[in-house]
């Protein structure tokens, strides 16, 4: 992806970052993001983010796993080489349920994590560091230059007056 820079403000409390996010959203900005050391409750609303789409991946992956398990157990023990085991029917479905179940879970779980990586652009080799404490106890908010209303000075001013601890010009984040 092309590198997109912007202006980032740093705040020290959860409440202020929430407030700022609200403010920025209401100010009509769209291309902005908050950076927090931990999931801040209510941040999605504040930034106006829609619900994650990953559950769909999970669902269909799970479905695939289930169907694969069903087909595989059936094909191996009833089609490819049917063998009389303990006088049981070739396709002893009840006995295959555990395997099918486990495959369902496995597919679903791995797919979800895969989706997460895709969604968050992970793994990333050289993540830009604006302030190392952003993963500890500071909160940041960045407005990207790709935003239609982007104007670094206005933004800096806005951040300042909303009590930013610091404001950085960022070449990329």
């Amino acid at each position: 992806m092309a590198k997109v820079g912007g202006v980032m403000g740093i705040w020290l409390t959860e409440d202020s970052i929430l407030a700022v996010a609200e403010k920025v959203k209401n100010a009509g900005y769209h291309k902005f993001d908050a950076i927090t050391p931990y999931p801040v409750h209510g941040m999605e609303d504040a930034c106006g983010l829609e619900r994650s789409w990953i559950p769909w991946v999970t669902f269909f992956a799970g479905l695939t796993g289930c169907l694969f398990g069903l087909w595989f157990t059936w094909w191996t023990s009833a089609v490819n080489w049917p063998i009389n085991v303990g006088g049981k029917p070739m396709w002893s479905l009840p006995a295959f349920v555990p395997v099918i179940f486990e495959l369902t879970i496995l597919f679903a779980a791995l797919a979800s994590v895969g989706a997460l990586f895709a969604a968050c652009g992970l793994p990333r080799v050289d993540p830009p560091v604006v302030d190392p404490d952003l993963t500890s106890h500071k909160f940041g908010l960045i407005i990207y230059e790709s935003d239609s209303k982007y104007n670094s000075n206005d933004i800096e001013a806005m951040f300042k007056q909303s009590g930013a601890d610091a404001v950085h010009k960022v070449s990329e984040y």
């Binding site: 063998i83 009389n84 085991v85 006088g87 029917p89």
Partner: protein, 1005 residues
């Protein structure tokens, strides 16, 4: 068709390379350490020369060595074809040779199966009168003695000392040994001592030899039967060992007889006996008075635990009341003695029964039989007991009907008298040279007999044994005879019936037929082989054709069947010795497996659990539960046993059904120089025996014991001895069975949740008739021989790790004082709904479309889940690399059966290799498979014909018929595993079952 397998010598390095290949699969030395307890632990030292010359190894060896290691590693393999292939040998196909197994007095016609010139299995010869296809455990095990690693590989000279106790031998050559013998012959005073020699030709040669050497030929058996023959002489005038026809007897009373287990012609007896244990036909009634629990006793309908000193009283009492009932006069000469027993007889717990037993005998006169003669009967008054018993048979008119003197057992020839004569001759130093053949007197004869000291006076002693055993140590030259399977021999066991044993392999080692040596020394031009042929040819009809027929059939002549009129019986005075009652009487007995100890170095027999006690790898002092309680002894406690002034430390085994005053100890153990397997196992009970002028005393000696405080763990293969009221062996009385064939069974309604699989074509199954099975255990060894089942050694047996694919469970019912015994052969049941298959993760055990439960060793990863889930626990696991067998033992392996490696499960396969072989044969011949054409190893060897294998899809097959019988039931039916093996209930010819209460408890499940 003599096996002229020709001599190709191969490159020994080929073998070494193979060994190396086998050795490099990891941690071998650890494995070695693990095996120290196991007879298989020896490293693969190859005996000098010998086996390496056998061409079949060149052919089969590679595949044997490859074992069950998958397609992973591929060493370069060599194939060495024959230079000149003997026409009768086709690589991959077995050849069969008729032979004869001589085991004391149990002589059985056999057929030896060979592969590429290598004997791998012995089976009964169906043409042999009496025993037929049946073969005892010992007969099956004989094959392994051929490959015994401890056999001498050539003649040796012993640097004897004055006492003749020197162990150092130097190997010599035949020239030296024979020249020594020649010199001795010239010198005169040449005597020969051997056990009963059943070969007329051999006897004549020996006689000729000793005549030349101005000596004498003595025959003597340590398990002596001469006193019985003498008694026959006293009572009837003819000194013979009659043969008994059990199939003709409706009532059999045994007084310390073991005609099924270890007695004369026991294999034949088992067959005849089983014929009369079929509730369908007329079932015999069997009564047994015995002081040690024997195989016979456990199969009796009524069994009374007595002590040896009571035999005579019982015999006389029976004789007396029979005489009264038959209106015959009771011999006057006996009255006084009889009177002296009055109180004893009144004292019997079964005193009242004796009259009714006599009644039963009289009712069945002419079709009854009173029998005795086991070691337990050899008290100081044995001849008196024998006289009375013979007299009773006479009075009952059994003579010529159930007691046959027309076809007497002519192979019983040895006598105590001759032994004593020899000893006295030696003491007078008249014996310059003694040749000891086919016996081990220095081990068997107690010191008190004075044989050793007498032997010290003999100048040169030759010994024909195949190892440096006790006698070997005591002799100057050991000139090893061929193994019976390497040697020509004509055998006349039953007079008028001639059988032959022919070489099945070129002699493995530098041995020589004893008779050949004699002939050579005598300067005869004929070889032993020619002599045998010449002398036998005449008897079998003279022509070359008849000779070939004889070789093919293995038997010539028939058993006299027309009943002879009885001989005249007279009650000659009894010579008896009465001393005051001892508080314990010692009984020395022989076991089915070890018997006199001749095959003691065969590991199969050492690990063969005794049918009654189920203990292997030891002999032990049997004491009654009450005695144990009184003297505070537990199983395995070691006591110091004293009798005849000798004291030995033995562990005790608590034996239900033993008289409280009896101590019993097995003979044949405690050998010091028999070989790696047998050495120092148990104690030598022969030391307690007493050799008298004309009798050996094994029974009734005054004995006492003292607790030593030590403990010896006895390797018992059975965990528990009561059926806990479960329906395992269904028992019923004859009366009940005749009313309701299902008597004693509790049927369960079993159904399946899914549709069963269809079995087109064959569906193999088996039926086991528990009424016929007498528990002798021949099937176990047959299976071991057929299926390459390893021996694991005492330590592992103690851990429950014995490998037997078929085992015989023995349960006691009723009270410990006087229990009934039931036997149940248990092999894989090949269940249609096999629990083992369902749980195997890798499909290593699955069902074939012929209904068998296949076990694929090479697929098995060894989770042991199948064994856990098998309700019958018939699966065995290779805890270590048991299959790593040392040479030459390796040569006994059956190439048709995979040798299992470490870590895989194994079990009974219904001898699938035999099934496959027959099916191929049928296919190649474009014909249809007949019922009973395929026999499993266990079925084939079973003299009682209790096991029957066959096709369940064939309604006319024997097995289908048996399984349809209402008497048959499936074991643990309620589990709905649908076994392909079914049992037929055990029927006793009694009015009331001892274990009856158990079975009531065994009600509904």
């Amino acid at each position: 068709m003599q096996t002229d397998v020709n001599e190709n010598s191969s490159t020994p390095k080929y073998w070494l390379s193979l060994e190396q290949w086998r050795n490099d699969e990891g941690f071998k030395e650890l494995a070695q350490r693990e095996f120290l307890s196991s007879p298989l632990a020896e490293d693969n030292k190859t005996p000098a020369g010998g086996w390496a010359r056998r061409e079949f190894l060149q052919l089969m060896g590679a595949s044997l060595a490859l074992s069950t290691f998958g397609c992973v590693r591929r060493p370069v393999e060599k194939i060495v074809p024959y230079a000149k292939r003997p026409k009768e040998i086709i690589p991959g196909l077995p050849n069969y040779y008729a032979s004869t197994f001589v085991d004391g007095y149990d002589v059985v016609g056999t057929v030896v199966r060979t592969r590429e010139g290598r004997p791998i299995k012995i089976e009964g010869n169906e043409f042999y009168p009496g025993s037929g296809e049946g073969l005892s455990a010992r007969g099956q095990a004989q094959i392994l003695s051929l490959y015994d690693p401890d056999r001498l590989t050539g003649p040796v000279q012993n640097l004897v000392n004055a006492k003749r106790t020197n162990k150092d031998t130097v190997s010599t050559n035949w020239v030296k040994a024979e020249s020594a013998l020649k010199a001795a012959l010239g010198e005169g005073g040449v005597y020969v001592l051997s056990s009963s020699n059943p070969s007329p030709t051999s006897r004549s040669i020996i006689e000729k030899f000793v005549a030349q050497g101005k000596g004498k030929y003595f025959e003597f058996d340590i398990l002596d039967r001469s006193t019985f023959i003498n008694s026959q002489g006293r009572v009837t005038g003819t000194e013979i060992m009659p043969s008994f026809d059990l199939s003709a007897a409706d009532v059999i009373v045994g007084i310390d007889a073991d005609y099924l287990g270890t007695g004369v012609a026991s294999t034949a007896h088992q067959r005849a006996f089983a014929l009369r244990r079929d509730p369908g036909g007329s079932m015999n009634h069997v009564i047994q008075f015995e002081s040690m629990m024997t195989l016979t006793g456990t199969n009796a309908d009524e069994r009374y635990a007595i002590k040896p000193s009571e035999q005579l009283a019982i015999a006389l009492k029976l004789a007396e009341s029979i005489c009264i009932q038959m209106g015959v006069s009771f011999p006057f000469a006996w009255r006084e003695i009889y009177g002296s027993f009055n109180d004893t007889i009144k004292g019997f717990p079964f005193a009242k029964k004796l009259n009714s037993i006599a009644e039963k005998l009289v009712k069945a006169k002419g079709k009854s039989l009173v029998i005795t003669g086991a070691e337990a009967s050899m008290t100081q008054n044995q001849s008196a007991v024998y006289d009375v018993v013979n007299f009773i048979n006479g009075v009952l008119g059994n003579d010529g009907k159930t007691v046959k003197y027309s076809n007497s057992v002519s192979s019983v020839r040895g006598s105590v008298a001759s032994l004593n004569e020899l000893i006295s001759l030696m003491n007078q130093e008249l014996v310059k040279t003694l040749i000891i053949h086919n016996s081990n007197p220095l081990y068997t004869l107690p010191e008190a007999s004075g044989f050793r000291s007498a032997l010290a006076k003999v100048k040169t002693v030759f010994y024909t044994g195949d190892r440096v055993n006790e006698t070997g140590i005591g002799s100057n030259y050991i000139i090893p005879d061929h193994h019976p399977l390497e040697k020509w021999m004509d055998v006349e066991n039953i007079s008028g019936v001639l059988s032959l044993s022919q070489p099945t392999i070129q002699p493995l080692y530098d041995t020589k037929a004893f008779e050949d040596i004699l002939l050579q020394t005598l300067g005869s031009t004929q070889t032993w082989n020619q002599t045998v042929k010449a002398s036998t040819l005449a008897k079998v009809g003279g022509s070359e054709k008849s000779w070939v027929q004889f070789l093919q059939k293995g038997v010539y002549g028939t058993v006299e069947n027309s009943p002879k009129s009885g001989r005249s019986y007279n009650g000659s005075p009894l010579k008896i010795r009465l001393d005051e009652a001892a508080d314990f009487e010692l009984v020395l007995y022989t076991t089915v497996g070890i018997k006199d100890g001749t095959l003691a170095n065969v590991s199969w027999l050492q690990e063969f659990p005794d049918p009654i006690t189920k203990i292997c790898w030891d002999n032990y002092l049997c004491i009654s539960p009450k005695t144990a309680l009184d003297s505070g002894l537990n199983e395995g406690d070691v006591v110091a046993l004293t009798s005849n002034g000798i004291t030995l430390d033995v562990p005790v085994h608590i034996q239900p059904g033993l008289n409280d005053r009896v101590l019993a100890l097995a003979l044949g153990y405690g050998q010091k120089a028999a070989g790696k397997v047998a050495n120092d196992i148990g104690v030598n009970a022969y030391q307690f025996a007493a050799i008298e002028k004309d009798q050996i005393i094994y029974s009734g000696m005054n004995a006492k014991f003292k607790k030593t405080g030590q403990q010896i763990a006895l390797a018992n293969v059975q965990g528990h001895h009561s059926m806990e009221g479960r329906q395992i062996v269904v028992e019923a009385t004859l009366k009940d069975i005749l009313e309701d064939p299902q008597a004693g069974q509790h049927k369960h309604k079993v159904f399946s949740l899914w549709s069963e699989h269809k079995y087109l074509g064959h569906k193999w199954g088996m039926a086991v008739d528990l009424s016929k099975c007498n528990g002798c255990g021949a099937c176990m060894i047959a299976c071991q021989a057929e299926n390459n089942i390893p021996v694991v050694g005492k330590r592992h047996v103690l851990n429950g790790r014995e490998m037997s694919w078929i085992r015989i469970d023995r349960y006691y019912t009723g009270t410990p004082e006087n229990p009934d015994v039931v036997y149940q052969p248990l092999m894989c049941m090949h269940c249609d709904n096999a629990p083992c298959e369902t749980v195997c993760p890798v499909l290593a055990t699955v069902h074939s479309d012929e209904g068998t439960n296949d076990m694929v060793y090479n697929r098995c990863v060894g989770t042991r889940y199948c064994a856990n889930n098998c309700p019958y626990k018939v699966r065995r696991f290779n805890w270590f690399n048991y299959s790593k067998v040392s040479n030459p033992l390796k040569m006994v392996l059956n190439p048709e059966v995979t040798v299992r490696s470490r870590g895989v499960m194994e079990k009974c396969t219904f001898c699938v290799q035999r099934v496959k072989a027959k099916k191929t044969e049928v296919k190649l011949a474009d014909r249809k498979l007949q019922d009973q054409e395929i026999k499993t190893a266990c079925q084939q060897t079973c003299a009682a014909e209790a096991l029957v294998f066959g096709d369940l899809n064939d309604p006319s097959s024997e097995v289908s018929k048996m399984q349809r019988s209402l008497r048959s039931y499936s074991l643990l039916e309620e589990l709905a595993v649908m076994p392909a093996v079914k049992y037929m209930s055990k029927v006793r010819n009694v009015s009331q079952l001892k274990g009856a209460d158990n079975h009531k408890k065994g009600g509904h499940h």
